[in-house]
């Protein structure tokens, strides 16, 4: 035997007593709440409680100057609790609701399938007039009641793509977030989708005692368990409603897009995608039908071309190439390169100007041979081990402008475009390639693809002389000042190079040969660049990017007009009108506006 194995068996009584003591404590508490205290009992068995969801006001959306863009209007949903809907006189009820018997059965089965004891929507969004008529008679039909809801209204028919729309939740959405119940609304696209959590607020609940005749008798326990709905936060966008309206006006009848950014903040001032639609179309009971109509429209108005259309940037890309070559140290702004006009090799020049040319003239005249030679010099620079390392230098600098990647902010569904990687060329040329092989890159053609949003951002970065704020929609969330901060990106290229490039871009408007001299705005300095994107499927796309005023840019803009030929013909005048509208608030050149509006771009 081991001596210290003392028998502790009397301790079973201590443990047993604790068990009994706890059981007695539980019973005492039960005795109190079940027998002594009356406050937990509730009224007669025949009464049932009805939980009516109190929907919060969805947050309103304003533009940067406080103009209302989106608000709410009341409609009524007819609710049903299938297990309580007994002994319904279907024929009279159908007459009251203006539906036929089989529709009634379909709706009833749908509600029952969801749940027979939790309420669901029987008919949604009944207007105020109909509501009055039906509500009067509703006491005949137990299990049915009304619930107030709000729908979105748009005082101005603009910015449909940016604002987005709300729609009924789908099953997967309900599974992802328990907040949503069948028939609830959720942001489906644009601002409504990204800021769903802020906009939606918090649902409240009103509990009422309902008697067997479907009459609401009283608040349950005096409303002690009711919760008030909390309205969603209002959102102030960086958008300028006037500029947006004007942009949509200018683009009417054309296919393409405009993106305007405030360079100092990265806020979107206007985002136009044409053709567009009236946001009021996607509201209310007709939403489904209208949505399908838009979906099947051959012009694809639902697509937001500003963020998902990709185009070869063409000559608008020359500034970036110029900047990279300057930064690599192989040349300065004053280094001359010869141009033999249409006889140049391997890339022809499409403009007529003197030779040799320096950076400013090259930008002003959009000289292809200059940028090919600058690109070639950079690729052959002794600074790099080989051409592949030089290409990597080019790639790193180009992508630092936000190209080749999707936008990392509150703009949903942006596409990344394309900046080719060194691995890509290694693969398609089996490792053997050099500056000559990829010469198209020097003039913004080849594999490069950008979105109008990215292009506007490049304009902002050049205007800012070396940095940009990730482009975003929102200016202010829920009243707190500047509560949303998006990333600042600094580009690793010296500021003096940006100054040189800006000087060239200014002469695009002001120079004697400037490709946008027709769009010159008296009294406002503008830096810009035309572009023509080769389109294998039809006529070329007209592209323009600009910022103004040159010294302290307030607006950076990109315009793309599809199948419209040269950048100088269409995109440049539209950009210049937008700039004038934003900075000056009025248009001083009605002839230019008239030309843009009345002459159809090539179809």
């Amino acid at each position: 035997m081991i001596k210290n194995k003392i028998n502790y068996s009397q301790r079973q009584y201590v443990i047993g007593s604790i068990f009994i003591l706890v059981a007695i404590i539980l019973l005492i508490k039960l005795f109190i709440i079940q027998i002594v205290d009356d406050s937990y009992k509730h009224s007669s068995e025949n009464n049932t409680l009805r939980y009516v969801t109190q929907y919060p006001q969805r947050g309103k959306i304003y533009d940067r100057n406080g103009k209302l863009l989106v608000y709410n209007d009341a409609v009524y949903d007819l609710m049903i609790i299938p297990s309580q809907a007994k002994n319904i006189d279907t024929s009279s009820f159908c007459k009251l609701l203006n539906i036929n018997n089989s529709t009634y059965n379909t709706y009833f089965q749908k509600a029952k399938k969801y749940s027979s004891i939790t309420p669901s929507i029987f008919i949604s969004q009944i207007t105020k007039e109909e509501y009055g008529r039906i509500a009067e008679m509703l006491y005949h039909y137990p299990g049915f009641y009304f619930q107030t809801r709000s729908i979105r209204q748009y005082p101005m028919p603009i910015a449909a793509h940016t604002l987005g729309s709300i729609g009924e939740v789908t099953k997967p959405e309900m599974e992802r977030d328990a907040y949503y119940k069948l028939g609830d609304y959720i942001g489906k696209s644009g601002i409504e989708k990204y800021y769903e959590k802020e906009l939606r607020g918090k649902k409240g609940i009103k509990i009422t005692v309902v008697d067997v005749h479907n009459r609401e008798k009283e608040r349950y326990m005096g409303g002690a368990f009711d919760t008030l709905p909390e309205p969603g936060s209002d959102i102030i966008l960086g958008l300028d409603a006037d500029l947006q309206t004007y942009g949509e006006y200018l683009m009417a009848g054309k296919t393409g897009s405009i993106v305007a950014i405030e360079p100092s903040t990265g806020q979107i001032l206007a985002m136009v995608s044409s053709p567009t639609f009236d946001p009021n179309d996607l509201v209310g009971r007709g939403r489904g039908a209208r949505y399908n109509e838009l979906l099947n429209d051959p012009d694809k108005p639902l697509i937001n071309r500003a963020i998902s259309g990709t185009y070869p940037p063409g000559s608008t890309f020359k500034m970036i190439n110029g900047l990279v070559s300057l930064e690599s140290g192989v040349m300065t702004a004053n280094t001359p390169y010869p141009c033999s006009g249409p006889n140049s090799s391997p890339i022809k020049c499409t403009h007529h100007h003197g030779s040799p040319v320096r950076l400013y003239d090259a930008i002003e005249n959009s000289c292809n041979p200059y940028f090919w030679q600058a690109f070639q010099a950079m690729m052959n620079s002794h600074r790099f081990k080989d051409q592949k390392e030089a290409f990597q230098f080019w790639y790193d600098n180009v992508t630092s402008f936000g190209l080749g990647r999707a936008c990392e902010s509150d703009i949903p569904f942006t596409v990344s475009g394309n900046i080719p990687k060194r691995e890509y060329y290694d693969k398609i040329y089996r490792g053997v390639w050099n500056a000559l092989t990829i010469r198209s890159l020097s003039i913004g053609q080849g594999e490069i693809l950008v979105t109008p949003l990215q292009l506007a951002n490049v304009a902002a970065a050049i205007g800012n002389e070396g940095y940009f704020i990730e482009p975003h929609y929102v200016k202010n969330l829920g009243g707190a000042s500047d509560s949303v901060i998006f990333g600042k990106h600094v580009i690793n290229i010296k500021q003096r190079h940006f100054k040189d490039v800006k000087k060239g871009m200014q002469s695009v408007f002001e120079g004697e040969h400037g490709t946008a001299r027709m769009s010159y705005i008296p009294g406002i300095t503008v830096g810009g660049k035309t572009g023509t994107a080769e389109n294998p499927h039809g006529l070329d796309h007209s592209i323009f990017m600009a910022f103004a005023p040159v010294d302290n840019p307030q607006i950076a803009i990109a315009v793309v007009v599809e199948n419209a030929g040269f950048g100088s013909t269409w995109a440049a005048p539209i950009a210049s009108l937008m700039i004038e509208k934003y900075i000056r608030g009025e248009i001083t050149r009605p002839y230019l506006e008239k030309r843009v509006l009345t002459t159809n771009s090539a179809q």
Partner: protein
């Protein structure tokens, strides 16, 4: 000599209590989750149909346990314990998240909760360790090992974010007490619990001022030998450290919803609309049952889904509402009978393993019983642990059943131990 078959040897009282609890559970889940479109209890698309399957599988596993050799569980205690720890580690890697904690492993259509397994494994391992003839609980090293066996799974469960399930392991202190750990452990536990609640109720600085005052008083009263002064100072420092760590744990380890639950119980927050809403609904359901209840399937609170999670953690509401105080009294008596019967049987075991294991499971049942019922009537914070045999859920029913059947087998075999 009794019947030779194992059926004849098992303790019929314990078995009957078990059957009664499982049956009450099934009927309560049927009432709580009743769906008028699927009125049959064997409709396997509904929770009650599924629970019926869980009961069938548990019984089958129980039957197999009764057939195999009784000594297996002692011999393989560490293996089972090891497997349960492994499954706890696994859940941290591949677990799926359900209501804030990562405590489930999804295997095709079956989801499995390793923390339930761990309770069973820990009861076996602790019994095996303490049951060895050379184990001496007065030795420091032995104590440390025993604590280690208990706290290792507890920490792993805490890492899943499931503080409720982790708290169950505290109850093994009772087992250690029964096996000869100084009675001080219970007193320390009690003092710790008091300090715990105090430091949540009032600022930790007040608690420490209080401790300092008590320290000063004791210092004046006792014989101030060097040893006593050091001891008292040590206790003061330990107590202050405890208060600090409680405060830290409350604000940094507990999730906001758990903090709120505790605050409501302590009366620091009156939130009858948020978390308090569940509790109030639960108390209304139980309170409205009155003396004799509203009758089976006639609970209005139950019928209209007013109490969230009613078929799982709040199953006691159904009993309270539909069968009233009478039913609650009967159910509590039944649980008490279960626990006391297990203790009674445990005391008659010849093998220390069987005895300690019996205490282990009795204490687990006790903790679940006290905390679960306590939370539905507002005596303790809302901690999401199931009511044994009644709450809906395959993992918990399976392992609670295995605990019972393993003990029944040990008891039936007790005469064969020399």
């Amino acid at each position: 000599m009794r019947s030779k078959t194992f059926i004849g040897k098992i303790d019929i009282w314990l078995f009957v209590i078990y059957l009664a609890l499982v049956t009450i559970g099934l009927l309560s889940i049927y009432a709580a989750a009743f769906n008028a479109d699927h009125p049959h209890i064997w409709d396997f698309s509904q929770n009650y149909g599924k629970q019926l399957v869980f009961i069938g599988v548990s019984m089958l596993v129980g039957f197999v346990i009764l057939l195999i050799d009784a000594t297996v569980f002692n011999a393989f205690a560490y293996v089972i314990y090891g497997l349960s720890l492994l499954s706890l580690l696994l859940v941290l890697v591949i677990g799926s998240k359900i209501s804030g904690s990562t405590s489930w492993i999804q295997l095709g259509p079956i989801s499995f909760q390793p923390s339930e397994f761990a309770k069973f494994g820990t009861a076996l391992a602790l019994a095996h360790y303490l049951g060895k003839l050379d184990t001496d609980l007065t030795k420091f090293k032995t104590k440390l090992t025993a604590y280690g066996i208990v706290f290792l799974p507890m920490l792993l469960i805490l890492a899943q974010g499931d503080a409720g399930s982790a708290s169950v392991f505290i109850i093994f202190l009772f087992v250690l007490y029964r096996e000869g750990m100084g009675g001080r452990i219970l007193i320390i536990g009690l003092v710790a619990a008091t300090l715990f609640i105090l430091s949540l109720c009032v600022s930790k600085w007040y608690v420490m001022i209080g401790l300092a005052v008590i320290y000063a008083i004791f210092l004046l009263m006792i014989d101030r030998t060097k040893k006593n002064v050091w001891l008292l100072t040590g206790i003061l420092i330990a107590a202050c450290a405890f208060v600090f760590s409680v405060d830290f744990a409350f604000h940094h380890v507990l999730k906001p919803h758990q903090q709120t639950r505790i605050n409501i119980i302590l009366g620091k927050e009156h939130d009858i609309r948020g978390v308090g809403y569940n509790l109030n609904q639960s108390m209304i359901a139980i309170g409205s049952g009155g003396f004799s209840g509203k009758g089976y399937l006639h609970g209005t609170m139950t019928k209209y889904n007013f109490v969230p999670e009613q078929h799982t953690d709040f199953i006691f509401c159904t009993v309270g509402e539909e069968s009233g105080f009478i039913g609650c009294f009967f159910l509590i008596a039944l649980y008490l009978a279960l626990m006391l019967r297990i203790i009674h049987l445990a005391e008659r075991q010849r093998s220390p393993f069987s005895r300690i294991y019996g205490y282990g499971i009795a204490c687990i049942f006790f903790f679940h019983f006290a905390i679960n019922i306590g939370m539905t009537i507002g005596l303790v914070p809302v901690i999401g642990i199931p009511l044994p045999f009644l709450s809906y859920g395959g993992s918990s029913l399976m392992f609670f059943s295995m605990m019972i059947f393993v003990f029944l087998k040990q008891d039936a075999n007790r005469m064969n131990i020399l």
